[in-house]
Symmetry: C2
Subunit: 330 residues, 2 copies
């Protein structure tokens, strides 16, 4: 079954290809009668314009590339969902690839994007990679790149991210409000800059505004590690009365221990996390958390992308607002 083309329509209607093309897009040059005929035949023959031909001719694809470490991730998927939604509204489609945190795959994927001449790329750096050179080249070739979540330090790139420091500070505020005496703060992988930032902000705030509160700071790069760390700390005679989980991963680990040890929340232990809300609401009582919405971030990223495409370079770093969502765990 061969596809319907402009040529075919033109032949059947005894018209030129250009007339058919213009008729299909309501060009004022074409008479109403002709337009009607063309549309009629196009419909009955299920004409679908060939996106490749268009893109080749117009040198602009209606496709954005998205690259994330993993699609199956509570945070990224809502980001992707938001970007997809906005893209669709604006006539764009999404090409989504995952790097699996492997630099080579990330490069492969970027190559695919370039070969498909995507109009722009939304990128979350893979943990290990430092291949900014490739991204640099893309922006030079007028392919805007909007980084999100895990972004390069270099500020010649456009980035959107959560207000990481604010997250940590809001959590610290709430902890202080609740009169915590002994806090266990568990952060993510020590290698990630986001962990550093949040830890510094948190620690700084606590030391400034509540110097008497005893805080223990640790890092966990997995759920299991977080669980083990928590158990170890909770084994001591001087048990923490409050625990702060920087990520969902950490929270999951903590809550496993909490359930296993049958610790009463919030009476024996206050719990607060940073999350998009899905995990905290899985438990009873609901865990209080500082909300970081991948969805909101996606919306923001899209706006940035559009701005980038129109008005030259907007080399800014935008952050999306965060807010405290009270549960019953603190």
């Amino acid at each position: 079954m061969t596809n319907t083309t402009l040529k075919l329509l033109a032949q059947q209607l005894q018209l030129s290809i250009s007339t058919v093309s213009r008729a299909l897009k309501d060009h004022p040059d074409i008479s109403a009668a002709t337009k009607a005929k063309v549309h009629a035949l196009a419909n009955s023959l299920d004409y679908e314009p060939n996106a490749y031909a268009i893109q080749l001719r117009t040198q602009s694809s209606k496709i954005f590339g998205v690259i994330v470490p993993a699609i199956s991730n509570l945070f990224y998927d809502s980001f992707i969902a938001a970007v997809e939604e906005e893209s669709r509204k604006n006539g764009y489609a999404l090409m989504i690839l995952q790097s699996s945190n492997q630099p080579e795959i990330e490069l492969d994927n970027l190559k695919i994007f370039r070969q498909n001449r995507v109009s722009g790329v939304f990128a979350c750096l893979s943990a290990n990679a430092e291949n900014l050179e490739t991204y640099q080249k893309m922006t030079e070739k007028e392919i805007p790149v909007v980084f999100f979540d895990i972004v390069p330090k270099d500020n010649k790139f456009t980035k959107v991210r959560m207000a990481d420091e604010r997250c940590a500070i809001i959590a610290a505020e709430e902890i202080i409000k609740r009169n915590a005496k002994k806090v266990l703060a568990i952060f993510g992988d020590a290698g990630l800059s986001i962990s550093q930032k949040r830890k510094n902000a948190f620690q700084n705030f606590m030391e400034t505004y509540a110097p008497k509160v005893h805080c223990t700071y640790v890092n966990a790069s997995s759920s299991a590690e977080a669980e083990a760390l928590f158990r170890k700390q909770y084994d001591k005679t001087q048990k923490p009365d409050t625990v702060f989980a920087m990520t969902d991963e950490v929270l999951i680990g903590v809550m496993k221990a909490v359930q296993a040890l049958e610790i009463k929340v919030p009476s024996q232990l206050g719990v607060i996390g940073i999350s998009n809300g899905f995990i905290p609401n899985l438990y009873h009582p609901k865990i209080s958390y500082v909300e970081t919405s991948g969805y909101e971030l996606g919306k923001l990223a899209f706006v940035q992308m559009m701005a980038n495409m129109k008005g030259g370079k907007t080399l800014t770093e935008l952050t999306v607002e965060v807010k405290f969502v009270p549960g019953e765990s603190l």
Copy 2:
């Protein structure tokens, strides 16, 4: 910054476009010396073949379309991850769109796929839609469609899905093994055929092999509803000793109630679910579940797609195996 093209390379090297093209793909007609020169320049100029031109010329895109109700879904994201992985290995990229369970959006998305002349489509029907006509047209135009998870009844389509009945039966077997006396079985949305299937299979099995076990069957279309239903049942004097949760959503609701009521698992209540494993492992003790792997399904779907593309029509319905994963909740 203009993109590097074959023409540009040809000009700079004083060669014809065809020679450059052939050199780049190691055509035997071209001398080693020429090949070397061409490759050298292509590298230094960051030549990337224009995918549109290739696809236009060769009439074949290296892109698959994927359409799901929502990307941010514990099940679909692992399916997508698997398909993406296989696609990348085979030189394909993925175009992913979500229907949000809205038929119009689903149609829009299919149009985008057609316009991009995707090589094939992986589709999960949106709950409400019955637009099989469009899918029918696609298969007629030689665009293979592989349905997954929520598939059409019509068996002229290629579909892969979980062994739904088997899931329910395995769960029933385990429940019987554990000598349950009173079972509360909570299924998903009554409108979905998958709920029907699982319910029928479960009920059938129980009545045949354990007629003395008292079973209560209910449907819940949300987490909150499942929680409410469970609480209501657990309020009775004759409490269930075992609960079966057909979906993660149901399980989440049940577990909220379990935590709130401080029910001891498994001593006071046995719990078993059907899941890909993420949610069941969030709790302590770990919930036992029948594993339905979106990942495995994705792999299977991909194999089917490739088969479909090569050897004409393979109108089969394949199911992926499921297995019981013991936790400590039953």
